[in-house]
């Protein structure tokens, strides 16, 4: 129903489901608390004062706060799992199927990561190891600023400026297309990767570097054979974050990747991604039911988890310093 607001209930979840989520969340959080080391009279072994009523109130409030994220993730899973079924008890598959959209997501985020990961890692190496302090002092904030630019603005840049400019260079490029979306997405991901990887590189102990240099390694070899492998877990975490941002990015995908569900691997034409579908339905540009949007949402989450597993696996292999 184009033009109509999304969210008119087809099947509203019964309220007791939400209460179940809340109860389960609190119970799970409290379970973790019970497993905390046994305390003596006070809340801390070395705290001599007995807890007053104010302390108890605050403690209760803080425990409620700690339970909140658990409740939230349970609700997220529950809502996605249950919203995906329509009134007739069928899984809400969007028109054109789920598979082309999954492929579209993989294609766009593949393009983005293929550009952003090498650039981000080189940038991290430069900022943490090679740059003079004066250069670093202004280049690092400038790069970090890119990560904070709203994605709406990136979408505007992709459609209005970057797309037409690229179309002049690349033959046969459509303007909403996987390539345009991927390249603009890469601009957003580079600072994400570089700032986390840089922290990991800077945390590598000085002794390791000294040992490598003392053994006669050049600076390049020291970086490549000692510092980068030692920082591998942090780098993997950075790439993981970038993957989940790429898969879940909505505004760029909605406007710059197009709305043509397609299974080809040609990045020059318009495709449709999972998040692009959600955005399209929300904007009323595409037919869709609430069940199909929730199904696609569940697919986004599933893809996210899968991508994390793959990145973790790739990162673990041939770990030199583990």
């Amino acid at each position: 129903m184009p033009g109509e607001r999304l969210g008119l209930p087809e099947v509203a979840l019964s309220p007791d489901r939400h209460f179940t989520c809340i109860g389960l969340g609190i119970a799970m959080t409290e379970r973790f608390h019970e497993r905390a080391p046994p305390s003596g009279a006070g809340p801390e072994p070395w705290c001599s004062r007995p807890a007053g009523s104010g302390d108890r109130m605050v403690g209760l409030a803080l425990r409620a706060c700690a339970a909140l994220p658990v409740i939230l993730s349970l609700s997220l899973l529950g809502i996605l799992a249950e919203g995906a079924w329509d009134g007739a008890g069928k899984l809400g598959i969007p028109e054109g199927g789920l598979w082309p959209r999954v492929l579209g997501t993989l294609l766009v985020s593949g393009v983005a990561l293929a550009v952003a990961v090498p650039l981000g890692l080189l940038a991290a190496l430069f900022l943490s190891e090679l740059a003079r302090p004066a250069v670093r002092r202004w280049l690092k904030p400038a790069l970090e600023l890119l990560a904070g630019i709203p994605t709406v603005v990136y979408a505007l840049l992709a459609v209005l400026v970057a797309g037409p400019a690229l179309a002049r260079v690349v033959p046969g490029l459509e303007v909403p297309s996987a390539l345009v979306a991927g390249l603009v997405l890469a601009l957003m991901l580079v600072p994400t990767i570089s700032s986390l990887s840089e922290d990991a590189l800077r945390a590598v102990p000085r002794e390791l570097r000294e040992a490598a240099l003392a053994l006669g390694a050049s600076r390049l070899r020291m970086l490549w054979l000692v510092v980068v492998p030692a920082a591998r877990p942090g780098i993997v975490a950075a790439v993981m974050l970038a993957v989940s941002r790429a898969v879940g990015e909505t505004m760029i995908m909605t406007y710059a990747a197009g709305h043509v569900p397609r299974t080809g691997l040609d990045p020059r034409v318009a495709v449709e991604t999972l998040t692009g579908y959600m955005g399209g339905v929300a904007l009323g540009q595409e037919p869709g039911t609430s069940a199909s949007v929730f199904t696609v949402g569940a697919a986004v989450l599933g893809l996210n988890v899968l991508a994390h597993a793959v990145v973790l696996r790739l990162g673990r292999r041939s770990g030199r310093w583990s």
Binding site: G3, P9, D55, R219, G284, N304
Partner: protein, 299 residues
């Protein structure tokens, strides 16, 4: 490595081949680091030049005078209102969760902390779906500003919690122990010792999270029930907030109305610049203070 100090091989005589190669590599790396910054700067410049219709500024001025400026102002106010509501909900809860994770009587941290960290990595659109189900359907709040604010709070909460937690972790345990040794209760230690010491870190993380909420559009798109035809800039309607208002540029590019959206882009980026600059300044000052004599590790 300590700040401002670099390790380099001792050089005797003219640079050998491997050093020249190292220099080449450094130059390549610098170019790569500069590339995204320059590209975005050029693209933004081109956007401003093409969209604003700088060749005919009278049209833009006319449109703004006709009421475009008022609409823009309304969307900025709407955004500020939305973000402040969101912050009022998300910041206390996020900091509270972090305090519980890092406070006295710590729960088994790994599971809860892992949960929060993975929530922070969940795409924000999905929180839009949660907001749709929880606030629009279950709580019957409608497509209102409150729904939008609460949904944004869901997005921001894990980010604030992660930032606050790492700030709290950086407070040395000796400070806490000194507090207990003086006979303070856990809450007194938290309020008078731990929170002040961690405040700059918490604050800078919070500011960055709020900056993100200010520009976030995807979950609002789902929750606000946005349709392009029915885009409204009425106060109190989440469809009128700045990030969604800016999308008008995509619908009717290069008209007078798009100039207004373009000014919106500039406002959005300006706000972001101010907020991030503030956060970076706080973090920088905090790092310097932590490295100074006050927080020196006694060992």
């Amino acid at each position: 490595m300590t700040r401002g100090e670099r390790l380099r091989p001792v050089s005797l005589g003219p640079p050998p081949r491997h050093q020249r190669r190292g220099r080449l590599f450094a130059a390549v790396c610098m170019a790569v680091t500069l590339l995204p910054v320059l590209v975005v700067a050029v693209l933004l410049g081109a956007l401003v030049q093409s969209g604003a219709g700088l060749d005919e500024p009278t049209v833009v001025l006319h449109h703004l005078a006709e009421g475009g400026a008022q609409q823009l102002l309304r969307s900025v106010v709407g955004s500020l209102w939305l973000v402040s509501m969101c912050a009022c909900v998300a910041v206390p809860l996020g900091v509270g969760a972090a305090l519980q994770l890092e406070g006295p009587r710590r729960p088994v941290r790994s599971a809860l902390a892992l949960n929060i960290a993975s929530l922070a990595g969940v795409p924000s659109v999905l929180f839009g779906l949660v907001g749709l189900e929880l606030f629009v359907r279950a709580l019957h709040l409608g497509h209102s500003m409150v729904t939008a604010a609460l949904t944004l709070a869901l997005v921001v909460l894990p980010i604030v919690a992660v930032a606050a937690r790492s700030a709290l972790r950086a407070v040395p345990d000796e400070l806490r122990e000194a507090g207990y040794a003086l006979g303070a209760t856990p809450w007194q230690v938290t309020r008078q010792v731990v929170l002040p010491a961690a405040l700059p870190g918490i604050l800078s993380g919070t500011i960055l999270a709020i900056a993100r909420a200010f520009g976030e559009a995807a979950p609002l798109l789902l929750v606000a029930g946005m349709t392009m035809s029915g885009s409204s800039t009425a106060l109190g309607d989440p469809r009128g907030v700045l990030p969604l208002h800016v999308l008008a540029l995509l619908v009717e590019p290069r008209t007078a109305a798009s100039a207004e959206a373009l000014v919106g882009v500039v406002v959005l980026l300006g706000t972001l610049l101010v907020l991030s600059g503030w956060a970076m300044h706080l973090r920088h000052r905090h790092e310097r203070r932590r490295d100074g004599p006050w927080f020196e590790d006694p060992r």
